[in-house]
Symmetry: C2
Subunit: 271 residues, 2 copies
């Protein structure tokens, strides 16, 4: 079973894939999110696993757009605690450390470490795990990377320090996407996307179909509707199963007050 | 009157500032959005003008976070039609064109141009206007930039082609921010930020305070609440004036069902 993800080997997405599906999967690193989605559509991978939101940085907005543009189905999710490690090869120690490479979001999440080490330069790179790969090829003294434990293992590097992140409450939620829909009887969460009709109180009416049936919303996101300035697509997650009667009724009701509605998936909620 | 903005001289933010405030302002280019906000807090500029959403790319999420963290007040807004121009110095013509520099978002909004010119390389730069500045310093044949008309004028460059953007419906909305609150009697739009109480149907209850009073919502955005995973701040814009009775009642009512609420500003809606 092949699982595609964006980033180099050792990316947080790879850690999340093992967490959700076990160690016996084959992984397919892709350069971009678009390529990860496309590899599933083309049948090169059975699934792709993409980050959708981080509890500090917010939504991965690009992936909401890909969810709409590609006809893939959400079949699972997993939350991963993000632990940033300082990773280097033997030529670099905490003493001679001068440069730290990582993705800009990861660098920004470790500001306290850089405040304590003012002579250490932050160098933005395209990827967390890719920064460790870069070190492996350059082997330059004084250089380290911030990345996952898996990245250190993949490239045979050492962890000089753990938990560089400023906030411990740092989680990323990933979605597992498949070309074929599959709804487990244990599924208890539904993701949808819709656009409202241009009527007063439109969004309120949309949310009322859930509130009137005591259905809990867990997340809402909006993205612009291209070609119709100041109109939006809304992405909504709610607790329930598409075959449950109150959820079916809520979706029927929602169809009355929207001009576009698609169910993106029904899947088991991450613990 | 000094107005700060992010970017180099000639940025779209500078065009938007002239549009909103006329040509007689002094401008203060800043390297980052954080610096633009800080310059107003420190009294170095009377106002800053920052982009908050684009009709194709979506919200400028970082600036929602800055709105919350800084105690500035929204005192105006302006919508600017984004026209991407191909800009160069005389050593570059459409014939010898080989490289085009611009901000990644601008490059992505001109894909049809690059499809028609497959030998032209896209080179990401930190800024649209900054790319024209770069050309001015390098004067390298075959190099051009994608930026605003103002950028061409500021650096004395030529416009080789206009309207490179794929979608004409490309607008950016900018907010004018001030250290001191100021509410004009002509104001007809209010921006607020709140976090919901952890009760079932919380967001629905928040929106009901507007729907029950026939108050139109124009935009809603959510951002993560740091330190409280899977909880969110909601940013809401609605039509009205803070001194209007139904708006005051709605805000009082909203305070009952939220655990945090702040009015970010009351200002005249952009045409």
């Amino acid at each position: 079973m092949t699982v595609a993800f964006q980033g180099e080997r050792g990316a947080f997405s790879e850690e999340a894939a093992y967490r959700l599906l076990g160690r016996r999967i084959r992984v397919l690193p892709c350069e971009t999110f678009a390529a990860a989605f496309a590899s599933v559509a083309a049948g090169k991978a059975r699934y792709c696993l993409v980050p959708i939101e981080n509890t500090l940085a917010g939504s991965v907005y690009e992936n909401f757009d890909h969810l709409l543009e590609n006809n893939l189905h959400i079949v699972g999710e997993v939350n991963l605690r993000i632990v940033h490690n300082l990773i280097a090869f033997p030529e670099t120690t905490l003493k001679n450390l001068r440069r730290v490479y990582s993705h800009p979001v990861a660098l920004a999440q470790c500001e306290r470490f850089f405040a304590r080490h003012p002579r250490v330069e932050k160098i933005p790179a395209y990827d967390t795990a890719g920064s460790v790969k870069l070190l492996a090829s350059q082997r330059s003294p004084g250089a380290a990377a911030i990345a996952s434990q898996t990245a250190a293992a993949v490239y045979g590097a050492r962890i000089l320090a753990r938990h560089l992140e400023d906030h411990r409450e740092n989680y990323t939620r990933f979605l597992l996407l498949s070309k074929t829909p599959r709804v487990s009887p244990r599924a208890n969460k539904v993701s949808i996307v819709f656009s409202t009709r241009n009527i007063p109180g439109a969004l309120f009416k949309c949310l009322s179909v859930f509130a009137l049936r005591d259905i809990d919303l867990t997340k809402m996101e909006s993205r612009p509707l291209r070609g119709r300035p100041w109109e939006y697509f809304f992405y909504l997650d709610f607790a329930g199963h598409v075959k449950e009667q109150r959820c079916r009724k809520a979706l029927d009701h929602l169809a009355e007050v929207t001009n576009f509605l698609r169910v993106l998936g029904c899947y088991e909620r991450a613990r």
